[in-house]
């Protein structure tokens, strides 16, 4: 019943959008990405590029000069904060710092005035939403009962490196009796330990991705509310909770969490997307090891399953909007020499192969690209004892360690992160021949080391900052909105 009402609400909103977009063409661009994938940087670079006219030779409308101007417009939602583009840009350019993790949802509206190829004056409105990537992991919960989620979480916490991180929570879990009486203190402790376990998994040494519920990691304004005071119990996937039990309490709160947090989030920001870019930080997972890579694959499969993807028809536009173009982007491609970009794309393709096949079957266009919204490195060849290594030059962030060197954030270094294999499947093995990441071995012995690099030093001209350097941001734009600027 609730499902049906939700559907009707979505259809009504879509219909309202459809009528207003008839006169004012709008693209809702979904910038999707798990935590630390680089959503904020991507949006900042995209907005800056469009406002200031970045160097985009592949973005046809801009390269041929048909885009007259782009400007920021008041956003449509009164209750959502504005995306703080200016201070993100300042931090990036002046202080040379990457933005901190996003803690709140925010929104931005951009209007692009252009001349169509036939010479008509047109305007295209682009709505972009930024949000904490952790929250994205909530979307798969919409279709999951408490029991299914609990069983999945418990079994996941006993796999691979998670087992060690979840030891405290698992041993506490063993003392709980789901069918026992309601106990607020037990719920509080369980939630605390569970959250600690999720936070430990997120550490960059482990770089796990599949960590629902997202608000446990990034509570927003809901910290310490009952809606966030629950945890999985060791219950059967198809059991029924007895009245007044701890199980029933947890179950009630899980449902409340879905109703209060997840459903509005999905309805307001994801149910009506036209185009989607999925940013994936493949390199962090490879850095951590094969377990993180497999975890990332699972998380992406679950998240991508939540979106309405398929070819657009008039009916679908009016009642159930669909995403007709998806761009899968492996971000931070500037941490690799360009000769390895193809292999990075192959890895991402392999990570998302099921979702891609499904989307293509539904008639959507899918493209995979290795991208760096802001390029922080240059490339170099290092010659050492007759050996040539394709390296990148950059200033590693203070505190990064590699081969016994600790960086202070000022020293420039040439980095060779390790060769990505030609066959991406080699990275997905978990047997003895698998590669070693920093989750299982010391940083000295890891097979890949991608250090975080500080944003580039830019020369300011009198008209402000010159164009931000990037890798394939123009190709991403051409794919995402190029056809609507014809």
């Amino acid at each position: 019943m609730g499902e049906l009402i939700e559907r009707i609400r979505l259809a009504a909103a879509a219909l309202a959008d459809f009528s207003s977009h008839l006169f004012d063409p709008t693209i809702r661009l979904g910038v999707t990405g798990l935590a630390n994938a680089g959503k904020t940087v991507f949006i900042t670079a995209l907005v800056h590029g469009l406002l200031r006219g970045g160097r985009f030779p592949v973005f046809e409308a801009m390269a041929t000069g048909r885009v007259a101007r782009a400007y920021l417009a008041p956003q449509p939602d009164y209750a959502v904060p504005r995306f703080d583009y200016e201070s993100h840009l300042d931090a990036l350019v002046d202080k040379r710092l990457w933005p901190a993790s996003t803690r709140q949802i925010s929104e931005l509206r951009l209007v692009i005035e252009y001349q169509s190829q036939r010479g008509h004056q047109r305007a295209l409105t682009l709505d972009i939403v930024d949000y904490p990537g952790e929250w994205l992991l909530d979307l798969p919960l919409l279709d999951k009962s408490y029991e299914a989620w609990a069983a999945e979480s418990v079994s996941l916490s006993r796999l691979g490196p998670r087992a060690g991180l979840a030891r405290d929570w698992n041993s506490y879990l063993a003392t709980l009796d789901p069918k026992g009486a309601e106990d607020e203190q037990a719920a509080l402790t369980a939630a605390k330990l569970f959250t600690a376990y999720l936070k430990a998994c997120r550490d960059k040494n482990y770089a796990m991705s599949l960590l629902p519920p997202g608000r446990f990691l990034m509570p927003g304004d809901l910290g310490n509310t009952p809606a966030l005071t629950f945890a999985p119990l060791d219950v059967a996937g198809d059991g029924i909770a007895p009245k007044g039990s701890l199980w029933a309490l947890m179950r009630r709160r899980y449902d409340a969490y879905r109703d209060i947090v997840v459903r509005p989030f999905f309805r307001d920001h994801f149910a009506r997307l036209d185009r989607q870019i999925v940013l994936v930080d493949t390199l962090a997972a490879i850095n951590a090891g094969p377990d993180a890579v497999l975890d990332l694959e699972r998380a992406l499969a679950q998240v991508l399953d939540c979106f309405q993807i398929g070819r657009k028809t008039i009916l679908s536009t009016m009642l159930r909007p669909r995403i007709d173009r998806i761009l899968l982007a492996a971000t931070k491609a500037d941490h690799l020499h360009h000769t390895s970009h193809d292999r990075l794309e192959a890895v991402l393709k392999r990570l998302t192969q099921e979702a891609t096949a499904k989307a293509e079957l539904a008639g959507a266009q899918v493209d995979v690209v290795a991208l760096a919204a802001v390029r922080a490195t240059r490339e170099a060849t290092v010659r050492r004892a007759r050996q040539e290594l394709p390296c990148i030059l950059g200033v590693p962030v203070a505190g990064e360690v590699l081969a016994g060197e600790t960086f202070d954030g000022e020293t420039e270094a040439a980095l060779f992160p390790g060769d990505l294999p030609d066959d991406p499947n080699e990275l997905f093995r978990s047997d003895a021949s698998a590669f070693q990441g920093i989750s299982t071995t010391s940083p000295q012995n890891a097979d890949f080391r991608f250090l975080r690099v500080r944003p580039p030093l830019l020369e300011a001209t009198e008209s402000g900052i010159s164009a931000l350097p990037h890798i394939r941001l123009d190709r991403a734009l051409q794919f995402l909105i190029g056809d609507r600027l014809q």
Partner: protein
């Protein structure tokens, strides 16, 4: 520590380290074990591609509608006349009637075959134009799938060119390799277009030589004009055959129109192409002998036309290979006066 991972391990080199030198240092290499050689920006370098030839197409094509309608009317009139004629023939005698009917059917069949051929020729021309545009786009956006598709289309187009058999085999062996879109197009250009470009250059310079020589010795200006026009037609047709277009009569007309348009659009380019020097040179030749100067000028115009025709009928834009210039064509022509003309 057992290493099972077969690939190269990560490494780091601090630029302020004593063992590291930035930049090329041949003799200092012994002193510094590690050299860091910065590379030029590959990602941001702008790829130089010629602007593809595009005429903006505005809305409904009235010209096409007009010619289509007039053609239809003429066909109707001819059909009506034919029917009347056959009726008259039958009225006179049965035998004449049947003979006329048979001839009419034969004419109709032949006409439809011609129409089909012409349509195919036009379609092939359109394919080449589209291929050229797609290749230009691929050079810009570096799309691997599109690059492969362009290469495959090019292979299909040149399937009937025997001299490319070896190049085609090489190209087909590269189809499975991991090559970026733009590089694929460049590779295809190098492999498949090199022999054709050389041949095209020979054809153009031979035509220019012939025109020059003929103009220098011909008795009348009117004959010159006819000869120049005729050899221009032959030249364009041979070039289009060479690059795989095989146009019919209509196709040749369309091609001539495109070539002339191209000449008009790129006329300004000729100045940078050494036109001034060429003209000056001919001026001096003209001082020596009026006929010779005139001949050289005609040859020069023919070569210019040939270059424009190459641009129009070549399925790939010039990027990896140098575009033939008027200067080296004309030096061929001048040399051609002393030598035997090469059989193309």
């Amino acid at each position: 520590m057992n290493k099972t991972w077969p690939h190269r391990a990560p490494a780091v080199f601090r630029l302020d380290d004593g063992n590291v030198i930035v930049g090329l240092a041949e003799d200092a290499a012994a002193k510094y074990p590690v050299q860091v050689i910065p590379e030029p920006d590959t990602e941001t370098s702008v790829i130089a591609v010629d602007d593809p030839l595009q005429w903006p197409r505005r809305g409904f094509r009235w010209g096409a509608a007009f010619w289509g309608a007039v053609g239809g009317l003429i066909l109707l009139a001819a059909g009506l006349g034919m029917v009347r004629l056959i009726e008259d023939l039958f009225a006179r005698s049965r035998e004449f009637g049947f003979l006329g009917l048979a001839l009419a059917i034969l004419a109709a069949v032949a006409f439809s075959v011609i129409v089909i051929r012409e349509t195919m020729g036009l379609a092939r021309l359109a394919t080449i134009e589209k291929l050229n545009r797609r290749a230009s786009d691929t050079l810009l956006n570096d799309d691997r799938r599109e690059g492969l598709a362009v290469t495959r289309a090019l292979l299909a187009l040149t399937r009937r060119t025997p001299r490319l058999a070896r190049s085609r085999a090489i190209m087909e062996s590269h189809l499975g390799d991991i090559i970026d879109g733009a590089d694929m197009v460049r590779l295809a250009e190098r492999e498949l277009m090199t022999p054709l470009d050389q041949q095209a250059r020979r054809i153009v310079s031979a035509a220019a030589t012939r025109v020059s020589a003929f103009t220098a010795v011909s008795p009348r200006a009117a004959i010159d004009v006819l000869f120049v026009f005729g050899s221009a037609l032959v030249l364009v047709r041979r070039l289009s055959l060479l690059y795989g277009a095989r146009p019919g009569a209509l196709g040749l007309m369309r091609l001539m129109r495109l070539v002339v348009l191209h000449l008009a659009m790129t006329g300004g380019m000729a100045t940078s192409d050494g036109l001034i020097q060429q003209m000056l040179g001919h001026g001096i030749a003209g001082k020596l002998s009026a006929r010779l100067g005139e001949g050289l000028l005609n040859g020069f115009l023919t070569a210019r036309l040939g270059l424009a025709a190459i641009d129009v009928v070549r399925p790939l834009p010039f990027t990896a290979l140098p575009r033939p210039t008027l200067r080296n064509l004309m030096s061929d022509v001048l040399r051609g006066f002393g030598e035997k003309e090469e059989a193309p």
